[in-house]
Amino acid sequence: MTIEDRLRQALAAQAATVDPAPDAWTRIRARTGTRHRRRLLVPALVTASAVVAGIMGLVALTGEEGAQQVVTEPPAADTPVPGGNPSTAGTAAPASVPLPETFLAVRDHGTELVMVETATGRVRRTLVDLGDFPENGSEEDKSFWPYIDGLTLSPDGRTVYYSTGPEPAVGNLYRVAADGGEPEQIADGLAPAISPDGRRLAFWSLDAIVVKNLDSGESTRFEPGEGFTYRFGNQLAWAADSRHLAFEKGFVEGASSIHVLDTATPGTLSGARPVGGDYEESDTSPSFRSFDGLLGVVQVCCPGPEGSGHDADTFAVLDPVTGQVKGRLDLPFQAKSAAYDRSGRHQLFVAGDGTVLRRSGGGFTAVLRLGGVTLVAW
């Protein structure tokens, strides 16, 4: 019997032991009656707006100031990080940094890699197309259709590295010129991330992280080590020093935390420094803010008030040495990931419905409203 059949039967057997309360409808009606409507009005409005935004696709976010809900701004640009990246700590970046002209996005069920104009959201070119997703195909066809699950752009903007499934544990790693051409497979791996100096490429290889020197071709492998339970790779992020690498570690309980690995020192992943996230709240999608060395993460799960009925996802900025939260932003949408540009002044967020939003300064701007995006990089 297949694992799918065993699971299906076990779930059905378990579900069959559950008898819904016979008076459930009476209790629901009592709570939705006239007597209770006034009490329910405010929480219902809050809940509905948030959940509808999540389900319906962020239709309210149409302008720079749209629907922003800032709780705490991340710290000022010139806030030094104690013990942080020595090359950037305490060094203020210019107040205004030009917006990158383009960014990369993976869309259409992960099958298409495109270059998008940041200002207009127009697709400039398609770099990779893995074929039309079989919308009407069998579940097996859909499950095994290839998709892109990792993405990074070289600092000079000339080379794109990406990984493809369908089996997440043994993805294939490719590179392709940013102005087009034939992709070239360079390794087996997942979630590539190129260092800011452009000289090293990190990626997951099963449950280890490999750092490949692009000048010499030599690779260093960081094995999981004892007590490391997470077997598959998510997003990797390099610090501005091109030495420290942030990665996600998943707990069995479902949460994930961020650890920072010193790639210049031999060791294992279990020896990396824990920074953020714990059993109560998952930190995911690490991205370093280059001008001050702080580490941005998306905090996933359900930190909203009890009964709010939605994931009140949060973006937080952490000290990568102490793990201290330096700033926090409640997002008016459910975020899957966030990425700083190389200046650290602009961010892209991928919302739960696949919409891409840009944050430059205070507000959010919907860049790609059509949705369907799963990954971005710039």
């Binding site: 694992i3 076990a10 378990q14 819904p20 579940e139 998943g250 309980e253 009964g307 009925g309 994931d311």
Partner: protein, 178 residues
């Protein structure tokens, strides 16, 4: 599969009778939603509570839903989010607790759940949250990838990934059992 019984009553038109729509949705979906929430939480009593909460929330939101036909998806998403919220409260109450275990085998369950079922459910409980959600929605409710993506507010690509990883992890865990 369960999905074939999940017909969407589609409340339409300006003169929406919210009570009638809610009643229709209750008849069609209450039982499956309570069972789904139980599979996610491991506690039928709490599952019943949050599903009732979801119906109350939907009642308040029906007029504001821009696509009324999305009410079933709204219900599912609300149940899942409330379940997550409840799990988080468990974790806050005790910093490193295990997730709620599969319900202990009482006399009634003992007659129904085989040893294999219990092993599979225990392995399922140990999976990361999103993987567990994807597997329950896929293999209990029988939702499509698109339906799961909508319920969880994630992409279909992510659904594939979580489902694939979840199944792989289940296989490993079940093979490791003596």
């Amino acid at each position: 599969m369960m999905a074939t019984t999940m017909a969407d009553p589609s409340p339409t038109g300006p003169a929406l009778d919210r009570d009638a729509v809610l009643g229709e949705l209750f008849r069609a979906h209450h039982g499956p939603l309570v069972r789904t929430a139980t599979l996610l939480l491991g506690d039928a009593g709490v599952a019943e509570e949050i599903v009732q909460d979801a119906y109350v929330k939907l009642h308040g939101a029906l007029r504001r839903l821009r696509q009324p036909e999305a009410s079933v998806a709204y219900l599912r998403a609300t149940v899942i989010n409330l379940a997550r919220s409840r799990l988080r409260r468990y974790r806050v109450a005790r910093r490193h607790p295990p997730l709620p275990s599969p319900p202990a085998a009482g006399a009634e369950e003992g007659a129904v759940l085989s040893e294999d079922h219990r092993e599979v459910l225990a392995a399922l409980t140990a999976l990361p949250r999103r993987q567990r959600e994807c597997l329950v929605l896929r293999f209990y409710l029988g939702l499509t990838e698109a339906g799961i993506a909508q319920a969880l507010s994630i992409s279909t690509g992510s659904v594939k990934t979580h489902t694939s990883r979840g199944l792989a992890a289940l296989s490993v865990r079940l093979e490791d059992r003596p």
